[in-house]
């Protein structure tokens, strides 16, 4: 019931609207009630409305408005990239991206694989069914 993810300096957030959609950024300062100063290794530090951000569980240890170098070092130290990509949220996003980029041939191969898997599962199931009914 209580809040678990707070807006604080060092909070990693996901951009959910706008030019930088889908990027992970770090809240580096709070400007006012609605906006934060936000920074990421591959973008110019700039302001963003909180409504454009979705907070994640990850937080890094930085002081208010660090240099780009310090920020990148802190991100490395906290291993944000791997933590994100191994979290279930991060993994879901990766799968979504992969699905969206599938070729027509890839989709065909996936269909064949799904049919094969279903066949194997059904065989096992029928084996189990036979055991229990007999």
């Amino acid at each position: 019931m209580p809040f678990k993810r707070y807006v604080e300096i060092g909070r990693v957030a996901l951009v959910n609207y706008g030019k930088d959609y889908g990027k992970l950024v770090v809240i580096v300062d709070v400007i006012d009630q609605n906006r934060a100063l936000v920074d990421a290794p591959d973008m110019v530090r700039g302001q963003m409305n909180f409504k454009r951000l979705t907070l994640t569980d990850i937080k890094i240890d930085i002081k208010r408005v660090p240099n780009k170098k310090t920020l990148v070092a802190a991100l490395e130290a906290a291993d944000v990239k791997n933590k994100w990509e191994s979290s279930s949220w991060g993994r879901k996003l990766i799968v979504q991206k992969k699905r969206a980029s599938l070729n027509d041939f890839d989709r065909f191969k996936i269909m064949l694989a799904k049919i094969k898997k279903a066949g194997v599962v059904r065989q096992e199931l029928s084996k189990l069914k036979k055991e229990t009914t007999c």
Binding site: A100, S101, L102, N103, D104, F105, F108, K109, L112
Partner: protein, 233 residues
């Protein structure tokens, strides 16, 4: 006159703003060294001799002048070219045909003919599409490519696919007509052989890729949840 390797010449007069150069006419005259060229040549600019103009062949006056002035048609310098081929379509690309008898079939692109149409083949053994012409607009290009280096498509052009001109025969009664029709409906053997030679090399390179043969044998269709504007082909 210039040796072939000349670099394109950059202007000696930088633009201050588009249309306004930094240097005036007299300054540019000096910069280009026209004074030095003239000095070398004794005060005037070097000239070549004009070629003696050839005497134009004597024209006879026309026999007939129209009563009213006849308008000359406007000059048209356009050249007939085959349709511009989409960058995504290269020889060996797998295409999805969208209309006609073979709609939904995935087919291999061979080359673009001079009429602009695309020459395409199933291969016939895999999905029943023969060597055929298809319009670029009725085709989706996928990013899957097949190795087409072993195939020789030089001999195919638009005339190969044109309708055969029938020799005019005398109008016969019912029986004669039917006999003629039956002859024409079968494909000539040399076309069948062409199909076989083209497909032989293609099928070999298709079988090298796993699942590609069944992919080409299957038709494409939109299923639930597929949004064509979001699909990557």
């Amino acid at each position: 006159m210039a040796p072939k390797d000349r670099k394109p010449h950059v202007s000696r007069n930088p633009d201050l703003i588009r249309g306004v150069g930094k240097y005036s006419r007299s300054k540019m005259y000096h910069k280009r060294g026209l004074w030095a060229i003239k000095a070398k040549n004794g005060g005037t600019f070097p000239k070549h001799e004009k070629k003696a103009a050839e005497a134009a062949p004597a024209e006879k006056p026309p026999k007939f002048y129209p009563a009213d002035d006849v308008k000359k048609p406007l000059v048209n310098k356009r050249k007939a070219r085959p349709t511009k081929l989409r960058a995504s379509i290269t020889p060996g690309t797998v295409l999805i045909i969208l209309a006609g008898r073979f709609k939904g079939k995935r087919v291999v692109f061979l080359k673009q003919l001079t009429s602009g149409l695309l020459l395409v083949t199933g291969p016939f053994k895999i999905n029943g599409v023969p060597l055929r012409r298809v319009n670029q607009s009725y085709v989706i290009a996928t990013s899957t490519k097949v190795d087409i280096s072993g195939v020789n498509v030089e001999k195919f052009d638009d005339k190969y696919f044109g309708k055969k001109v029938e020799k005019k025969k005398k109008k016969g009664e019912g029986e004669f007509f039917e006999a003629e029709k039956e002859e024409k409906n079968t494909l000539p053997q040399d076309k069948k052989d062409d199909q076989k030679t083209v497909d032989a090399a293609l099928i070999a390179s298709i079988e090298a890729v796993p699942d590609l043969k069944s992919y080409l044998g299957a038709r494409f269709s939109l299923k639930a949840g597929m949004k064509p504007h979001e699909l990557v082909f």
